[in-house]
């Protein structure tokens, strides 16, 4: 059983600077053969501008395409926007690295490794 509230949440990093938290939601969590991958990147706008968040989204999409993931959709929200709209709770999103560890999802592990190298 996933515990999304008490475990540390993951970061996408630019160099040594954590820039945001990445969560997964949608059909990837429930379907054995999902058609697409839905992610939400919650960025800290003290260290990550909206433009930087767009770059992270682009990196995830490009890395995903290289890895053969057909469609990656990334919602971008600042921490303030996320809190205000309660997005994580409303869609039942799960921290991505927790999902990867619990489900030994090597494809998504490679996606994150690639994206962290090249955000």
């Amino acid at each position: 059983m996933l515990n999304t509230t008490t475990m540390a949440t993951p970061f996408i990093t630019t160099g040594d600077n954590p820039t945001g938290r990445l969560f997964i939601f949608g059909s990837w969590l429930s379907s054995p053969m999902p058609n697409d991958l839905d992610l939400v990147f919650i960025y800290d706008d003290c260290v990550c501008s909206p433009q930087d968040a767009i770059t992270v989204r682009q990196a995830l999409k490009e890395c995903g395409a290289r890895l053969g993931i057909p469609a990656i959709h990334v919602v971008l929200l600042s921490e303030a926007e996320s809190v205000q709209c309660g997005f994580i709770e409303s869609v039942g999103a799960v921290p991505l690295k927790i999902w990867i560890n619990e489900h030994r999802d090597d494809l998504l592990r490679r996606l994150i490794e690639e994206a962290e190298k090249n955000p």
Binding site: D38, P50, H73, V75, L77, E81, C85, G86, F87, S90
Partner: protein, 132 residues
């Protein structure tokens, strides 16, 4: 259900073009490609619309669209169950870019300052589609 892709389906685009064309203030609609449409209005300036189906339009989406589309007038997320954040809405208004659901766009097209359009309920209270 929302498709979360951010890319409107072919059916959504068809719906958008057909519905906009029936608006009293609209003369014609031109598809400029890549989900950008020019709405030519009667007696008002044209409005350039970026159509999306993103579940929640955030400020980053608005900035991204403004960067890619210099003459942008509106970001419209097509599905009724979609929404936007207050920060996205506010940033848009400050830059004369409307951030709307489709139904709101239909109201906005009657105005010169379309970006500032806000729908009101029967009691006169403003209605926003902030997610959450």
């Amino acid at each position: 259900m929302p498709n979360n892709s951010g890319i409107p389906s072919w059916k959504s685009i068809q719906f958008f073009e057909n519905a906009i064309a029936t608006h009293n203030a609209v003369e014609s609609v031109t598809n400029r490609g890549e989900n950008v449409f020019i709405i030519n209005r009667k007696g008002h300036a044209p409005v350039v619309v970026y159509l999306t189906d993103v579940y929640t339009v955030g400020i980053a989406d608005v900035i991204d669209a403004m960067t890619r589309i210099p003459d942008l007038g509106c970001v419209v997320t097509i599905s009724n169950w979609n929404g936007y954040t207050q920060a996205a809405k506010d940033h848009g208004v400050q830059n004369h870019v409307g951030v709307f659901l489709f139904a709101e766009l239909m109201g906005a097209l009657n105005r010169d300052d379309f970006w500032a359009y806000v729908k009101h309920d029967d009691d006169g209270n403003p209605v926003y589609h902030y997610r959450g």
